[in-house]
C-alpha cells in the first residue's frame, strides 16, 4: 500500500523517509496545514519549515532537504508531533533526516553530527556520559574559541562540584559493548 502510494507519487525520497521512520507512512496524509511550523520553537530559524520539508520530500528534493538546516534546528520538543492533525511523527521524521544526512555526509553548517559522535563515543567507551570530557573534546575539536568563552561557566560549575574530572565507567562495560557491536552489525534504521 505504502509502496503503491510512493510509486504513484514518484518520489524515491518519500519512500526512503517512510521506510526509515517508525510510523512514517503518515507523511502521505500531510494537509500542509503548518501546525508543525507554527509550533516549532526554532521555526523562525529553519530554512524550510517541517511542512515545507514534507512538500519537498513529496517532490523528491532529497539533496535540498538533507543539506538544509531544518532538522538540525529540531530540539526534540515534540510540539509539532502532538499537535499534528494527521498524526505524523514529525520529530521522528527529523531524526530520520538527521541520520540520512550524517550517513551520506550531507550535513552542512552544523556541529550537531560532531557533538552526537563525541557523545556516543564516550558512551560506547564508558557506558556513561561525561560532561567535562564531552565539553572539552567537543569544543577543542570543533569550536576552540568558544571554549575560552565557556571557561567561566565551567569554572563556576566546577567550584560547585557540578563537574567531575574523571569519567565513570560502568562495571559490565563488556556487556554494553557487545550489545552495541551487535546492533552495529545488524545495522539500524538510518
Amino acid at each position: 500500500m505504502i509502496q503503491h502510494a510512493t510509486d504513484r507519487r514518484g518520489s524515491a525520497f518519500l519512500r526512503e523517509v517512510i521506510e526509515n521512520t517508525p510510523g512514517g507512512q503518515r507523511i502521505l496524509h500531510c494537509l500542509q496545514c503548518g501546525s508543525c511550523g507554527g509550533s516549532c520553537p526554532n521555526g523562525a530559524d529553519m530554512q524550510y519549515t517541517p511542512r515545507t520539508v514534507f512538500a519537498m520530500i513529496n517532490a523528491d528534493e532529497r539533496e535540498k532537504v538533507l543539506t538544509s538546516n531544518t532538522m538540525w534546528c529540531c530540539v526534540s520538543c515534540y510540539f509539532c508531533t502532538t499537535r499534528c492533525p494527521q498524526k505524523i511523527p514529525i520529530t521522528d521524521v527529523m531524526y530520520c533526516l538527521k541520520r540520512l544526512a550524517i550517513r551520506d555526509g550531507l550535513a552542512k553548517d552544523t556541529d550537531a553530527p560532531a557533538l552526537a559522535k563525541t557523545f556516543t563515543n564516550l558512551l560506547d567507551k564508558y557506558g556513561r556520559s561525561f560532561e567535562l570530557g564531552l565539553a572539552s573534546r567537543f569544543y577543542l575539536f570543533n569550536k576552540p574559541l568558544a571554549m575560552l568563552r565557556m571557561g567561566p561557566l565551567g569554572f563556576s560549575m566546577f567550584t560547585r562540584g557540578r563537574m567531575s574530572l574523571v569519567p565513570k565507567r560502568i562495571k559490565n562495560i563488556g556487556q554494553l559493548q557487545a550489545i552495541i557491536a551487535k546492533a552495529r552489525q545488524l545495522g539500524g534504521r538510518s
Binding site: V75, C77, Y78, F79, T81, P89, I102, L153, I179
Partner: protein, 298 residues
C-alpha cells in the same frame, strides 16, 4: 510502594542536587527507590540521530536490568524518561524492531519483553500514587508566600501525554499548592529550554532560555522549578551569558522541584543540595520563608 530507580548520568555529578533531593523526598513520602544496578547512559538525543537500533538497544539494556519483582521504573531526567518510554513503545508497536533489539540484547545475555516495565516520572508518582492527602499530611513547613513558576519542559509531557497534559500540564502546580506555595500562571511551562542547542547555536538557545526567564519575571515568580537536569542547566548556568547576550539583568533562581518540595517537608537545605545552583536560591527562600527553624526540620 517500591520502584526501580534510574538516576541517569546528569544526576551523578552536574545535577547531584536533583539526585540527593529526589532520594530524600522519596524517602519521606515512602516511595522506595531501588537504584538499577550498573545502569548505562540513555544516549540522550544523540544516538537516535545516528542509528536507531543502537539507540534502542543501549536504552533497552536498562529496561532489561529491571529486576523481575519490580514493574515500575522512575527516571527523574526528562530525556532519560522519554528515551526509556519511547524504546519500550517502539519495541511494542513494531514487533520486528522489538525482535531486533532483543537480538542485540541477547549478545549481552539479556532480553526484554516490551510493556513489562512501566516507566514513570517522580512528579506523576508523587501526584498520582502518593496523592494529595498523604502529601499534605507530611508538610511541616508550608511554603506560604513563596511564588513559584512550575516548569515542565518538553520530554516528560510529550509526545505521550501520559505523565501529564502535553500542552498545559498541572501536576506540579497541584503539588505546590498542596505544599502551600503560591503557584504563578506560567504560560511557557511546557515550552522548550533549547536542549543541546546551547552547545550548537547559542543565539538560538539563548532566545529560548530568555523567553522562559522573561515569562517568569513577568508573572513575578521568586524562582523556577525544574524537573529535568538539562532545563535546569540551561536556565541556571547560562543565565549570565543570556544576560550578556541580550543586555538583560535576569537573576531568577532555577532549582529542582524536589529541592523546594523537600524544604516544605522539613528537610535541611544542606540535605537537598542547595548551593549547587549558579544563581543562588537560598536568599529568596529565606526572605520568603525565614531561616529553616531547626526544631521542626529533619
Amino acid at each position: 510502594m517500591k520502584y526501580a530507580y534510574y538516576p541517569g548520568c546528569s544526576l551523578e555529578v552536574s545535577s547531584a542536587a536533583y539526585d540527593v533531593s529526589v532520594r530524600a523526598v522519596a524517602e519521606l513520602l515512602m516511595i522506595e527507590l531501588e537504584e538499577l544496578d550498573d545502569w548505562n547512559c540513555c544516549g540522550a538525543t544523540e544516538y537516535f540521530s545516528q542509528d536507531e537500533l543502537t539507540a534502542c538497544s543501549v536504552i533497552a539494556r536498562n529496561l532489561a536490568l529491571v529486576e523481575p519483582r519490580l514493574d515500575q521504573l522512575i527516571a527523574p531526567c526528562a530525556a532519560c524518561y522519554l528515551n526509556l518510554k519511547k524504546t519500550d513503545r517502539l519495541m511494542a508497536e513494531d514487533a520486528a524492531m522489538g525482535a531486533r533489539v532483543n537480538e542485540c540484547l541477547a549478545a549481552g545475555g539479556l532480553s526484554y519483553q516490551p510493556g513489562r516495565v512501566r516507566v514513570r516520572h517522580l512528579l506523576d508518582v508523587i501526584h498520582d500514587d502518593v496523592g494529595e492527602s498523604a502529601v499534605r499530611d507530611k508538610v511541616v513547613r508550608p511554603l506560604a508566600g513563596l511564588r513559584v513558576a512550575p516548569y515542565y519542559g518538553c520530554q516528560v509531557v510529550r509526545p505521550a501525554a501520559e505523565a501529564d497534559c502535553s500542552e498545559y500540564p498541572m501536576k506540579m502546580d497541584a503539588l505546590f499548592t498542596w505544599l502551600g506555595a503560591e503557584v504563578v500562571h506560567y504560560p511557557v511551562k511546557a515550552h522548550c529550554c533549547g536542549g543541546h542547542m546551547t552547545q550548537l547555536s547559542e543565539p538560538m538557545a539563548f532566545e529560548l532560555i530568555r523567553r522562559l526567564l522573561q515569562s517568569a519575571v513577568e508573572y513575578e515568580a521568586d524562582l523556577i522549578l525544574c524537573m529535568c537536569p538539562m532545563c535546569q542547566l540551561n536556565m541556571d548556568a547560562y543565565q549570565s551569558r543570556v544576560n550578556g547576550f541580550f543586555q538583560t539583568s535576569f537573576r531568577v533562581p532555577v532549582v529542582f522541584f524536589t529541592q523546594v518540595c523537600g524544604l516544605a517537608l522539613g528537610l535541611e537545605p544542606t540535605r537537598l543540595g542547595f548551593g549547587k545552583e549558579i544563581v543562588p536560591a537560598m536568599p529568596v527562600l529565606e526572605a520568603r520563608l525565614g531561616a529553616a527553624p531547626a526544631a521542626s526540620s529533619r
